[in-house]
Symmetry: C2
Amino acid sequence: MPKAPKKSPSAPKFSRHTVEARREMLVDAGLACLARHGILGFTIDRICTEAKVSRGLITHHFQSIDGLLAAVYGAMYGKALVAIENPRVPLNATPEARLASIIDAMFSKEFFNRESLNIWLALWGEIANNPELLKEHRKQYARYRRGIERTLEAVALARGKKIDTALVAMMFVSLVDGLGLEWCIEPKLLSAREARQACFKLLEPILGPLQ
Amino acid sequence: MPKAPKKSPSAPKFSRHTVEARREMLVDAGLACLARHGILGFTIDRICTEAKVSRGLITHHFQSIDGLLAAVYGAMYGKALVAIENPRVPLNATPEARLASIIDAMFSKEFFNRESLNIWLALWGEIANNPELLKEHRKQYARYRRGIERTLEAVALARGKKIDTALVAMMFVSLVDGLGLEWCIEPKLLSAREARQACFKLLEPILGPLQ
DNA sequence: TACGTTATTATATGGTAGTTCAATAAGGAA
DNA sequence: TTCCTTATTGAACTACCATATAATAACGTA
């Protein structure tokens, strides 16, 4: 009995899943590869090994490796959009409380961690060079910006301040992404707390005290 | 006379250059590939084709493809550091004028263009995943931040303002990088002029009027 | 003009990339 | 239990990857 099989001979060699479930498993494996090795680690071989499936499955479920990459991008935004469109505050919360909740979420451990940020960095560098990814980006990013703009606009309105909403939103989004970039590359140069503080320091001169 | 050669038979098949000159040519070719196709386009084949040399030359001059990538990164910083450490203002210019000159340079066509920004994006995504690149980054980025910190500190000192220099510098650098990121991916969402304006809008509540 | 140094070429090598597709077998339905 | 659908496997294929190295030839020097 050389190389004893770990399971009984009658055990299935693999298990079948619904299309949706398997797609999610492959997306998760893709995220793991992106987090660990960046865009150069996003390969059929690596991802299938990570997901413990054979090489043919990605093409079967996503047509191509780029199809999976677009799905991975959508999954990243999916998580973030929940926090922005449904901040964890009471329904009757003030606009200020909604904004503060969004900022807190952005710099919480769930989003502000090296794995997630390394994924974002890897994706950002490819958007402009990958048509399929760009298409997905346009869809998701529009929603993201709209959510931020509405929140900022609501605060300004509640305080009777007139602001250039598009510009302030762009500044806020840019600062958040920029802080994530710096921290991902060299985490010791700032803390999540300082990054969060930086956002308030940007917005308070424009919107008034927020905390 | 089939397939007539374009040059006389006695013409050299290639020309020799000094090590320094050839290294620069390879770096330029690497930059072009990065600008056009991102990090996935940074390959021996592509770069050598771009530079019109044979495949062995990169290894000969840089040991490996990662060695060339680190040199490319250094070249990008080299250009930017000139503008920061030697802003185009008179020697006796005010700190405010020096700061304004740096900001103007950052959003000038020389730096704020899609090619350059696509290169930065490609590099940022790889720093955390490439030890050789990380080493080069640490060397260059420290100089960059120091230059920004000194300039901000000088303005604050001249105006008798007390600021958290490290935090303000981090905010400024993050905003600049973030704006470049957004603009590179979707240039129609803001102009270079608005990006420049955003920097002043961040700094003026902290340092007072700057323009 | 001939020589010597060495930058450069060109090929070989072993690995890994993404995609295709026929064969397989899991697991629900009958 | 048997059958059928189809998710999944796994090998084949072509293309491209980085690197090593021996042969070549450019060009300054003597």
